[in-house]
Amino acid sequence: MDVKVLSGNKAAAHGVRLARPDVIAMYPITPQTPLAEELAKFHAEGLIDAEIIEVEGEHTAMSAITGAAVAGGRVFTATSSWGLSYMNEPFMFCAGNRVPAVMVNVTRETSSLRGVGGSRQDIMTARDGGWIQIEPETCQEVLDSVLIAYRLSEDPRVLLPVVVAYDGFFLSHQYERVEVPDQATVDKFLAPVSARIRSKLDDPRTLHFSISLAGMDFANYRKMALEAMEGAKAIHGEVEDEFAALFGRRYGMIDTYRADDAEIIYLTAGSCSGTIRTIVDRARNRGHKIGLARLRVFRPYPREEMARVLEGKKAVAVIERSICLGWNCGHLFQEARAVLPDVTNPPKMVDFIDGLSSLDITADHLEKALAITMAAADGQTVKETNWLIWE
């Protein structure tokens, strides 16, 4: 094990290196570019034994890794924002055909050409693409999540692609202390999926890989995909147990902080959780029972666990970096609300939009959000959706 100071992008690159992929397809886009560059550097120095395809665009990147995975290879690509939009067609195809693949999406705005700013908008537009989605909080977790992603994706009970989506700039470009595991331990962790028979194109009986399923066959295939996605929740737990045993870290599908006895919790995803932990501590020092729930695995959505987390809370302050047009709120709020019928005494929920286009989610903003949510918990009427920059 090595301790290094790495950005999120470099941490991801180390995760990819340690996973020993066969084929990597890369196309640069801000803020993912340093990851592509780091992998090219690893390749130049002979640190990874992978075919790197320098593709002409993200559409080909996703198509090429899908092809290589079908042929039996372990694969990787990464993108951001418009790149994710551009690859949408093969992105859906990859998941639709249940091809195991791992990618990184460094999250960014998509709604303007000048939207070269962090946000979770891009990955939220892909939430129905059929991919498992993991959203880390720290650079360490970026590296760990890449390794976990391979175990999940290639598990014969899952066989769904996994995207690790971390905050553009806030995680991709900020440096933190990262423990880089040694190769032997990673090999041990990935052994159960590395050893499986991977190639269908080597098997002469399996001659046909096509999109031509129709009617009942198609419906059956979709049902199996739905069940695999549901089953991935339990398998994620198993994989995390093994990961924790080897590396000593565990995150959960929902990562909570001082939430058990809390009356009010923040609900969020991604890097701003770090700031929120500080606010939680401050509020606790003032005598308020405040906690944090960070949604780490967005797909499959941990419905049951979310219901358990929300049970007994008075109010929830949802902090989010994306907007769900047509619902007048953000995506985290919309989806957490859908869990409320499973909660005996549903909490009041207040939504806070902040941090679009790389704007900071500041401590000041988070205190404001807490004040509004406490007022709601006391029975006062508050707006359901609030924009923290104007509150």
């Binding site: 397809a25 090429a64 092809g67 290589a68 039996g72 046909h208 096509s210």
Partner: protein, 428 residues
């Protein structure tokens, strides 16, 4: 081994001429009767000669109740008179009228290619060069077992089955065949591994597979077979990029010059002035207003290992190019652009599919060339090209053409040919 067969061309077999029949009867073997037949419709000024094709797997061989018919070691179908009953079943099943009945003897007989003579007597005697003898050996010898199912689903008169069959027979079965949604989806109709992709990512997906094969040391050919839609229009960038990266992909584009699978719509390779359902003919519009994109040259200009044009009327040329591409793809990108007529979309008689390609070549509409790493050379140079009108007259998609449009297309064809000619000139 040589597999001889008689070949007829369209030089014009005159009504009333009997020279070939006489020569056959006098060829010096038994029975002293012609083993070929003359078919004439004087009122239509139609005349031809029907001969045995020496089919490789003819129905006559299956139907004979005594096994008297055999394909012998010299490569022609022979009847053993000792075992022949003269039942005439072989005569009935032959679609070419290649078998005769000798009534008084109750035996069947047929052409034996004048076995023992240098050239068949009929071919030697024909004063109009209609009949000739062809040795099909080199072509057939290069063929591998047929991996396509006996019947493939195409429109009447479509020659894509021939292209696909010959392509796979030439390459063998160590192939992963990539196909996209198109007319020619072979998927479960071929005994090679098949990978169905989106229309937009055939070359990209094949790149991924090919790289994995490269990493694992596998020699299997990644063969992309798709139409002009996926190649010339919406995925052109991906083909260009795979060519630039030198991916080990053998890419065959069958160009029927429109989106035929969706019902005949304009595409980049649709020729100037052609009617399609999205380039209609009326008082304001006269078919496609722009010239076709010359995709084959564009790909060749990437300097790829091998690029060529090929078409059905020149089968030996096409097979030769498939063989060269098979070799070239071991180290990089190979591209073959096949002109594949669509009788439905080109609005032409179904029996003209092969003839129309021969005409496309002879008017220089579709010159046959190859380019090895960007070095161009003709593989069949037309000495005296016919006017382009001879080609467009075969198809109703050009039926609305006026003189000005014909002149414009002629100018496009001439200019492109001049450009190609310049490309074939080597600098000293």
């Amino acid at each position: 081994m040589a597999y001889p067969t008689l070949l007829k061309n369209d030089n014009g077999c005159p009504v009333g001429c009997q020279e070939c029949l006489k020569a056959c009867a006098d060829r010096g073997s038994y029975p002293k009767l012609p083993q070929i037949e003359k078919v004439e419709l004087p009122e239509e000024n139609f005349s031809t000669v029907s001969t045995c094709n020496q089919c490789s797997d003819g129905d006559c061989l299956d139907v004979c109740p005594t096994g008297a018919l055999r394909k012998n070691s010299a490569g022609f179908v022979a009847i053993d008179p000792a075992t022949c009953l003269g039942c005439g079943l072989c005569n009935m099943v032959c679609p070419y009228g290649g078998i005769m009945s000798i009534e008084n003897l109750h035996k069947s007989s047929k052409c034996d290619m004048c076995h023992g003579r240098e050239t068949a007597a009929c071919a030697e005697a024909c004063p109009h060069q209609v009949l000739s003898e062809m040795k099909a050996g080199p072509l057939l010898e290069s063929f591998q077992p047929d991996v396509c199912s006996p019947g493939l689903q195409f429109c009447a008169g479509c020659a894509m089955e021939l292209v696909a069959r010959v392509l796979l027979k030439t390459l063998g079965d160590d192939v992963v065949l990539f196909g996209a949604p198109s007319c020619c989806v072979l998927s479960d109709k071929v005994k090679v591994q098949y990978y169905g992709t989106l229309m937009t990512n055939l070359a990209s997906t094949a790149s991924g597979v090919s790289r994995y094969f490269k990493k694992t040391g596998r020699e299997t050919i990644c063969l992309a077979l798709t139409g002009d839609g996926a190649t010339a229009d919406l995925a052109f960038g991906t083909v260009s990029a795979a060519a630039e990266r030198g991916e080990r992909i053998l890419y065959v584009c069958y160009d029927n010059e429109a989106y035929m699978n969706t019902g005949i719509q304009r595409i980049g390779t649709t020729p100037f002035g052609a009617w399609t359902n999205t380039t209609q003919v009326g008082s304001h519009d006269r078919g496609k207003s722009r010239a076709a994109k010359d995709v084959a040259i564009l790909i060749a200009e990437h300097g790829v290992n091998y690029a060529a044009t090929a078409t059905l009327g020149y089968m030996a040329d096409m097979v030769e190019k498939f063989k060269k591409a098979k070799e070239a793809v071991k180290t990089g990108f190979a591209y073959i652009h096949v002109l594949a007529p669509c009788p439905t979309g080109w609005k032409m008689p179904t029996e003209l599919a092969v003839a129309v390609t021969r005409m496309a070549v002879s008017v220089n509409y579709f010159p046959l060339w190859e380019a090895v790493k960007g070095n161009f050379a003709f593989t069949h140079e037309v000495k005296d090209p016919r006017p382009v009108g001879d080609y467009i007259g075969l198809m109703k998609r050009f039926g609305h053409y006026d003189l000005r449009q014909t002149e414009t297309l002629q100018a496009i064809v001439d200019e492109r040919y001049r450009r190609l000619k310049r490309l074939t000139h080597k600098l000293q």
